[in-house]
Symmetry: C2
Subunit: 108 residues, 2 copies
């Protein structure tokens, strides 16, 4: 008897969109699985989030750029980092597929 | 430039003990990487935790037994489950190595 959905499973539906599933929701946090299929943030778009977010690449690879750094961070399988609240960032590149685990924290 | 430690890396030191690393600590939660090397909970020992814990098996395999269930849950790579506060449980078996990701929540 095993848990569902498996972290490494294919996304529940194949679409051109990224897939998002909440795995755990509790006061102050949400754990989410994200499956990317080669998407990147739109040109010129920057995320600016009210809460901290911790992300890990479970499968695949990605490049995440912080607005205050000249080059993107290259994230291989198993790499992870903290995106502090209001540190502007964008996803420059993802492999198809890339499976992320994200922990979203409520604003302090 | 990548994050450290990589989730899939070998534990920092090879010992007969399980390895524990805190990846993220924030008010109300702690994200931890645990590397098991075949350990199980001591005979007759049951965890009884004050806060919820969400665990995922990133590599390897494990069997986790709840005291109120007759058989252990078999966790393969990518399986995950929530261990509610005060639901007594024990680890019956782990492969060597097994890499866990655990999210510990503060008691409500």
């Amino acid at each position: 008897m095993s848990a569902s959905p498996n972290l490494y499973a294919d996304p529940p539906t194949r679409t051109d969109e990224e897939s998002f599933e909440t795995l755990l929701a509790a006061p102050g946090l949400r754990v989410e699985r994200i499956v990317s299929g080669g998407q990147a943030s739109p040109p010129g778009f920057w995320y600016d989030q009210d809460g901290d977010e911790w992300v890990a690449v479970l499968k695949g690879a990605a490049e995440l750029r912080f607005a205050d750094e000249p080059e993107p961070r290259v994230l291989a399988e198993g790499d992870h980092l903290l995106i502090p609240a209001h540190r502007r960032h964008r996803v420059e590149r993802t492999q198809n597929p890339t499976i992320w685990l994200a922990v979203h924290l409520a604003p302090r």
